[in-house]
């Protein structure tokens, strides 16, 4: 373990990103169509009501598109030429960024019409000496909470920079 340099420390310690969105039926239906979903509770309000829900409900991993649709919504000038937001790139020199493990707790389905607070923070960070040099691990928490601040889904996601 080595100390993080001050730029990276400041980036890691920055306040969480927070965004509030209302889940539209079309958000869920588009996700369902894009992923080839056939269960009608994700496509049709009548079928969802017949199954006991208030309206169309999202498939279990809907949050993966909610995450990017909320946090990637930056002006074009704030995107890297490769297409990802510049603010997602930590201030450190690296030649490769890799996705580590993702773990998600799925508390309940997202439901049409609800207001969701999405937040992202860096949970922990550490460096490790690998064979090819220093590896920096950043572990993020993405939390999606309802109007009562009860979690709908919580994701922990590690990115590894080499």
């Amino acid at each position: 373990m080595t100390e993080l340099d001050s730029d990276l420390r400041a980036w890691v310690d920055a306040p969480p990103l927070v965004a509030q969105v209302r889940i539209d039926r079309k958000d869920i239906v588009r996700f369902a169509i894009a992923t080839g979903e056939t269960n009608p509770i994700h496509l049709d309000a009548g079928a969802a009501r017949a199954a006991g829900f208030a309206d169309v409900v999202a498939p279990p991993l809907f949050y993966v598109c909610l995450r990017t649709s909320v946090f990637n919504l930056v002006p074009a000038g704030e995107l890297h030429p490769e297409g990802t937001p510049l603010r997602d790139i930590p201030p450190l020199s690296f030649t490769q960024a890799m996705a580590g493990e993702t773990t998600a707790e799925l508390h309940r389905p997202f439901v049409t019409g609800e207001d969701v607070t999405c937040s992202r923070r860096v949970e922990s960070t550490f460096t490790k000496q690998g064979r090819s040099g220093t590896l920096t691990f950043l572990r993020f928490e993405y939390r999606y909470a309802d109007a009562d601040d009860e979690p709908i889904a919580v994701e922990h996601f590690t990115r590894i920079f080499r």
Partner: protein
């Protein structure tokens, strides 16, 4: 297959899926995901050195979970899922989707190991996932 058939070691009936460019575009679009390796073939080949467009890792995870629920007839709820991406999957390359039951717990929940791997000559695993499921629909 029924949730009551689950026992440690039981293999789930596998399937195969081949991603199309249109699917990758739609998934990028719904997620407002502008990373060019998923839609810009020339950039992906010339700047990143890949053979073709890459299938999003999270999309593979979505399809592993979706397949699990189809196999079990939507009669279960996914409580948690962990996944790792181990290799690249290119558009147009057939992918094998399979899994097996790791454990069935006294409270009725079960741990299932899922895997997507290339079904071409490489046979490389692209995404592995572990899901914890419980009987009964989501509420």
């Amino acid at each position: 297959m029924n949730v009551t058939d689950l026992a440690p070691g039981v293999e789930l009936p596998a399937t195969t899926r081949t991603y199309t460019t249109v699917e990758l575009f739609q998934f990028s679009a719904v997620g407002w995901h502008a990373h060019r390796v998923h839609f810009d073939q020339a950039y992906t080949r010339e700047a990143e050195g890949h053979a073709d467009l890459l299938v999003h890792g999270p999309l593979q995870a979505v399809h592993l979970v979706q397949w699990l629920l189809r196999v079990l007839g939507d009669g279960v709820t996914v409580r948690s899922v962990s996944y790792r991406h181990l290799g690249v999957l290119h558009v147009g390359v057939p992918a094998h989707i399979g899994g097996r039951v790791v454990d069935v717990h006294p409270d009725g929940t079960a741990t299932v190991q899922l895997e997507m791997r290339r079904a071409d000559d490489e046979q490389a695993v692209t995404t592995t996932a572990t899901a914890v499921i419980s009987p009964g629909p989501a509420t």
